[in-house]
Protein backbone atom coordinates (compact mmCIF):
# COMPACT_ATOMS: atom_id res chain seq x y z
CA UNK A 1 0.00 0.00 0.00
CA UNK A 2 1.70 3.12 -1.22
CA UNK A 3 1.47 6.59 0.26
CA UNK A 4 -0.72 7.63 -2.70
CA UNK A 5 -3.32 4.99 -1.89
CA UNK A 6 -3.34 5.95 1.81
CA UNK A 7 -3.85 9.60 0.85
CA UNK A 8 -6.58 8.66 -1.61
CA UNK A 9 -8.55 6.60 0.90
CA UNK A 10 -8.26 9.29 3.57
CA UNK A 11 -9.49 12.03 1.23
CA UNK A 12 -12.22 9.76 -0.16
CA UNK A 13 -13.45 9.04 3.37
CA UNK A 14 -13.60 12.78 4.11
CA UNK A 15 -15.50 13.41 0.87
CA UNK A 16 -18.06 10.64 1.43
CA UNK A 17 -18.63 11.47 5.12
CA UNK A 18 -19.06 15.18 4.40
CA UNK A 19 -21.49 14.42 1.54
CA UNK A 20 -23.60 12.17 3.78
CA UNK A 21 -23.51 14.82 6.53
CA UNK A 22 -24.69 17.38 3.99
CA UNK A 23 -27.57 15.08 3.18
CA UNK A 24 -28.75 14.37 6.72
CA UNK A 25 -28.20 17.63 8.61
CA UNK A 26 -31.44 19.43 9.37
CA UNK A 27 -29.97 22.93 9.23
CA UNK A 28 -29.24 24.26 5.73
CA UNK A 29 -26.26 26.30 6.97
CA UNK A 30 -24.57 23.12 8.23
CA UNK A 31 -25.35 21.47 4.89
CA UNK A 32 -23.62 24.32 3.04
CA UNK A 33 -20.53 24.13 5.27
CA UNK A 34 -20.29 20.34 4.86
CA UNK A 35 -20.51 20.87 1.10
CA UNK A 36 -17.58 23.32 1.30
CA UNK A 37 -15.58 20.60 3.08
CA UNK A 38 -16.56 18.14 0.35
CA UNK A 39 -15.44 20.52 -2.40
CA UNK A 40 -12.07 21.11 -0.71
CA UNK A 41 -11.56 17.35 -0.33
CA UNK A 42 -12.28 16.85 -4.04
CA UNK A 43 -9.90 19.72 -4.87
CA UNK A 44 -7.12 17.86 -3.06
CA UNK A 45 -8.05 14.76 -5.06
CA UNK A 46 -7.57 16.85 -8.20
CA UNK A 47 -4.08 17.68 -6.94
CA UNK A 48 -3.41 13.94 -6.52
CA UNK A 49 -4.60 13.44 -10.10
CA UNK A 50 -2.10 15.99 -11.51
CA UNK A 51 -4.73 18.67 -12.17
CA UNK A 52 -3.26 21.63 -10.31
CA UNK A 53 -5.05 24.38 -12.22
CA UNK A 54 -8.47 22.72 -11.92
CA UNK A 55 -7.88 22.22 -8.18
CA UNK A 56 -7.25 25.94 -7.70
CA UNK A 57 -10.31 26.82 -9.82
CA UNK A 58 -12.36 24.42 -7.72
CA UNK A 59 -11.28 26.07 -4.48
CA UNK A 60 -11.77 29.66 -5.65
CA UNK A 61 -14.94 29.27 -7.74
CA UNK A 62 -16.80 26.40 -6.06
CA UNK A 63 -15.74 26.50 -2.43
CA UNK A 64 -15.31 30.27 -2.51
CA UNK A 65 -17.75 32.08 -4.76
CA UNK A 66 -20.61 29.61 -5.27
CA UNK A 67 -20.89 28.48 -1.65
CA UNK A 68 -20.71 32.06 -0.40
CA UNK A 69 -23.68 32.77 -2.68
CA UNK A 70 -25.53 29.79 -1.18
CA UNK A 71 -24.82 30.90 2.40
CA UNK A 72 -25.83 34.45 1.55
CA UNK A 73 -29.21 33.34 0.19
CA UNK A 74 -29.85 30.95 3.10
CA UNK A 75 -29.21 33.70 5.64
CA UNK A 76 -31.09 36.30 3.58
CA UNK A 77 -34.23 34.16 3.48
CA UNK A 78 -33.86 32.82 7.01
CA UNK A 79 -34.60 29.42 5.55
CA UNK A 80 -32.37 27.18 7.64
CA UNK A 81 -35.16 24.86 8.75
CA UNK A 82 -38.22 24.51 6.57
CA UNK A 83 -39.14 20.84 6.65
CA UNK A 84 -41.86 20.98 9.28
CA UNK A 85 -44.95 19.49 7.67
CA UNK A 86 -45.67 15.77 7.38
CA UNK A 87 -43.73 14.09 4.64
CA UNK A 88 -44.93 11.38 2.33
CA UNK A 89 -44.58 8.06 4.18
CA UNK A 90 -43.21 6.17 1.18
CA UNK A 91 -40.73 8.86 0.12
CA UNK A 92 -37.66 7.64 2.06
CA UNK A 93 -37.99 3.88 1.31
CA UNK A 94 -38.58 4.50 -2.39
CA UNK A 95 -35.63 6.91 -2.54
CA UNK A 96 -33.30 4.40 -0.86
CA UNK A 97 -34.51 1.64 -3.19
CA UNK A 98 -33.86 3.80 -6.26
CA UNK A 99 -30.44 4.75 -4.91
CA UNK A 100 -29.54 1.07 -4.45
CA UNK A 101 -30.66 0.37 -8.03
CA UNK A 102 -28.43 3.21 -9.25
CA UNK A 103 -25.45 1.86 -7.24
CA UNK A 104 -26.06 -1.59 -8.77
CA UNK A 105 -26.07 -0.09 -12.26
CA UNK A 106 -22.84 1.79 -11.59
CA UNK A 107 -21.22 -1.37 -10.19
CA UNK A 108 -22.31 -3.35 -13.25
CA UNK A 109 -20.88 -0.74 -15.63
CA UNK A 110 -17.69 -0.35 -13.60
CA UNK A 111 -16.84 -3.98 -12.92
CA UNK A 112 -18.61 -5.75 -15.76
CA UNK A 113 -17.14 -3.93 -18.71
CA UNK A 114 -14.96 -5.62 -21.28
CA UNK A 115 -12.18 -3.09 -21.79
CA UNK A 116 -10.20 -2.05 -18.77
CA UNK A 117 -8.90 1.49 -18.68
CA UNK A 118 -5.63 2.38 -17.10
CA UNK A 119 -4.26 -0.40 -15.00
CA UNK A 120 -0.78 0.84 -14.31
CA UNK A 121 -0.80 4.57 -15.05
CA UNK A 122 1.90 6.08 -17.19
CA UNK A 123 3.89 9.00 -15.84
CA UNK A 124 2.89 12.52 -16.78
CA UNK A 125 5.13 14.98 -18.54
CA UNK A 126 6.53 18.12 -17.02
CA UNK A 127 3.85 20.75 -16.41
CA UNK A 128 0.85 18.49 -17.06
CA UNK A 129 -2.29 20.25 -15.81
CA UNK A 130 -0.47 23.45 -14.95
CA UNK A 131 -2.15 26.80 -15.74
CA UNK A 132 0.17 27.30 -18.73
CA UNK A 133 -0.60 23.95 -20.39
CA UNK A 134 -4.36 24.09 -19.71
CA UNK A 135 -4.46 27.69 -20.94
CA UNK A 136 -2.62 26.79 -24.11
CA UNK A 137 -5.11 24.00 -24.87
CA UNK A 138 -8.00 26.29 -23.99
CA UNK A 139 -6.99 29.20 -26.19
CA UNK A 140 -5.59 27.14 -29.06
CA UNK A 141 -8.49 24.76 -29.57
CA UNK A 142 -11.45 26.08 -27.59
CA UNK A 143 -11.42 29.83 -28.12
CA UNK A 144 -15.00 30.08 -29.46
CA UNK A 145 -16.55 28.11 -26.55
CA UNK A 146 -14.56 30.28 -24.16
CA UNK A 147 -16.06 33.46 -25.63
CA UNK A 148 -19.55 31.89 -25.63
CA UNK A 149 -19.06 31.14 -21.93
CA UNK A 150 -18.46 34.82 -21.28
CA UNK A 151 -21.77 35.66 -22.97
CA UNK A 152 -23.45 32.93 -20.89
CA UNK A 153 -22.13 34.46 -17.67
CA UNK A 154 -23.33 37.90 -18.78
CA UNK A 155 -26.81 36.51 -19.51
CA UNK A 156 -26.86 34.80 -16.10
CA UNK A 157 -25.89 38.06 -14.40
CA UNK A 158 -28.60 40.09 -16.15
CA UNK A 159 -31.14 37.30 -15.61
CA UNK A 160 -30.56 37.03 -11.87
CA UNK A 161 -30.86 40.81 -11.47
CA UNK A 162 -34.14 40.86 -13.44
CA UNK A 163 -35.56 37.86 -11.53
CA UNK A 164 -34.91 39.31 -8.09
CA UNK A 165 -35.87 42.91 -8.89
CA UNK A 166 -38.72 44.11 -6.70
CA UNK A 167 -41.04 45.72 -9.24
CA UNK A 168 -43.87 46.53 -6.85
CA UNK A 169 -42.19 49.77 -5.87
CA UNK A 170 -41.83 50.93 -9.46
CA UNK A 171 -45.51 50.47 -10.28
CA UNK A 172 -46.52 52.99 -7.63
Amino acid sequence: MTIDLILFFGIAAIAVISAISMLVSRNAVYSALFLVLNFVAIASLYLLLNAAFIAMVQVTVYAGAIMVLFLFVIMLLGAEKVETGPSLPWQLPVAILLGLVLIAEFAYVLFGRVTQIGGELAGVGEGFGSPASVGRTLFDQYLIPFEVTSILLLVAMVGSIVLTRDDRKESR
Binding site: F8, L49, A51, L76, A79, Q91, A95, S160
Partner: protein
Amino acid sequence: MNVPTDYVLALSAFLFVIGVLGVLVRRNAIVIFMSIELMLNSANLALIAFARAMAPGTEALRGHVLVFFVIAVAAAEVAIGLALIVAIFRTKRSIDVDQVSSLQG
Protein backbone atom coordinates in the same frame (compact mmCIF):
# COMPACT_ATOMS: atom_id res chain seq x y z
CA MET B 1 0.11 8.98 -8.31
CA ASN B 2 -0.58 5.29 -8.61
CA VAL B 3 -4.22 5.16 -7.57
CA PRO B 4 -6.12 3.04 -10.13
CA THR B 5 -8.67 4.91 -12.21
CA ASP B 6 -11.35 2.45 -11.11
CA TYR B 7 -11.10 3.60 -7.48
CA VAL B 8 -11.62 7.23 -8.44
CA LEU B 9 -14.56 6.27 -10.67
CA ALA B 10 -16.12 4.28 -7.82
CA LEU B 11 -15.80 7.29 -5.50
CA SER B 12 -17.33 9.50 -8.19
CA ALA B 13 -20.27 7.13 -8.66
CA PHE B 14 -20.84 6.95 -4.90
CA LEU B 15 -20.88 10.76 -4.55
CA PHE B 16 -23.30 10.93 -7.50
CA VAL B 17 -25.68 8.49 -5.78
CA ILE B 18 -25.55 10.57 -2.58
CA GLY B 19 -26.51 13.62 -4.65
CA VAL B 20 -29.42 11.75 -6.25
CA LEU B 21 -30.63 10.66 -2.80
CA GLY B 22 -30.47 14.30 -1.67
CA VAL B 23 -32.67 15.38 -4.55
CA LEU B 24 -35.15 12.56 -3.86
CA VAL B 25 -35.35 12.87 -0.07
CA ARG B 26 -34.95 16.51 0.97
CA ARG B 27 -37.69 19.11 0.59
CA ASN B 28 -35.68 22.26 1.23
CA ALA B 29 -35.15 23.74 -2.23
CA ILE B 30 -31.69 25.07 -1.34
CA VAL B 31 -30.49 21.66 -0.11
CA ILE B 32 -31.85 20.05 -3.29
CA PHE B 33 -29.85 22.59 -5.24
CA MET B 34 -26.69 21.80 -3.26
CA SER B 35 -27.21 18.10 -4.04
CA ILE B 36 -27.27 18.98 -7.75
CA GLU B 37 -23.93 20.76 -7.27
CA LEU B 38 -22.59 17.59 -5.62
CA MET B 39 -23.62 15.57 -8.68
CA LEU B 40 -21.93 18.03 -11.05
CA ASN B 41 -18.82 17.81 -8.93
CA SER B 42 -18.72 14.02 -9.01
CA ALA B 43 -19.00 14.12 -12.80
CA ASN B 44 -16.04 16.52 -12.84
CA LEU B 45 -14.08 14.05 -10.71
CA ALA B 46 -14.74 11.29 -13.25
CA LEU B 47 -13.57 13.57 -16.09
CA ILE B 48 -10.34 14.40 -14.29
CA ALA B 49 -9.75 10.69 -13.61
CA PHE B 50 -10.19 9.89 -17.31
CA ALA B 51 -7.83 12.73 -18.23
CA ARG B 52 -5.23 11.25 -15.87
CA ALA B 53 -5.71 7.77 -17.36
CA MET B 54 -4.73 8.97 -20.85
CA ALA B 55 -2.09 11.23 -19.38
CA PRO B 56 1.04 11.38 -21.55
CA GLY B 57 -0.91 12.33 -24.67
CA THR B 58 -1.70 15.94 -25.37
CA GLU B 59 -5.40 15.08 -25.81
CA ALA B 60 -5.66 14.46 -22.07
CA LEU B 61 -5.77 18.16 -21.28
CA ARG B 62 -9.10 18.40 -23.10
CA GLY B 63 -10.66 16.76 -20.06
CA HIS B 64 -9.34 19.59 -17.91
CA VAL B 65 -10.76 22.15 -20.34
CA LEU B 66 -14.17 20.45 -20.23
CA VAL B 67 -14.13 20.54 -16.41
CA PHE B 68 -13.28 24.24 -16.62
CA PHE B 69 -16.35 24.86 -18.79
CA VAL B 70 -18.55 22.77 -16.48
CA ILE B 71 -17.47 24.91 -13.52
CA ALA B 72 -18.26 28.11 -15.45
CA VAL B 73 -21.71 26.84 -16.46
CA ALA B 74 -22.35 25.71 -12.87
CA ALA B 75 -21.60 29.23 -11.65
CA ALA B 76 -24.15 30.68 -14.09
CA GLU B 77 -26.67 27.99 -13.10
CA VAL B 78 -26.26 28.75 -9.40
CA ALA B 79 -26.83 32.48 -9.95
CA ILE B 80 -30.05 31.86 -11.91
CA GLY B 81 -31.30 29.10 -9.60
CA LEU B 82 -30.82 31.08 -6.42
CA ALA B 83 -32.54 34.08 -8.04
CA LEU B 84 -35.50 31.81 -8.84
CA ILE B 85 -35.56 30.52 -5.24
CA VAL B 86 -35.57 34.11 -3.93
CA ALA B 87 -38.42 34.99 -6.29
CA ILE B 88 -40.44 31.93 -5.18
CA PHE B 89 -39.80 32.83 -1.53
CA ARG B 90 -41.18 36.33 -2.16
CA THR B 91 -44.53 35.04 -3.37
CA LYS B 92 -44.93 31.84 -1.30
CA ARG B 93 -43.03 32.85 1.90
CA SER B 94 -41.52 29.35 1.84
CA ILE B 95 -38.95 27.32 -0.08
CA ASP B 96 -40.40 23.94 0.86
CA VAL B 97 -40.91 22.24 -2.50
CA ASP B 98 -44.09 20.60 -1.22
CA GLN B 99 -45.64 24.04 -0.85
CA VAL B 100 -44.99 24.95 -4.47
CA SER B 101 -47.98 23.06 -5.86
CA SER B 102 -50.17 25.81 -7.31
CA LEU B 103 -50.34 24.08 -10.68
CA GLN B 104 -51.59 20.82 -9.13
CA GLY B 105 -54.96 19.83 -10.61
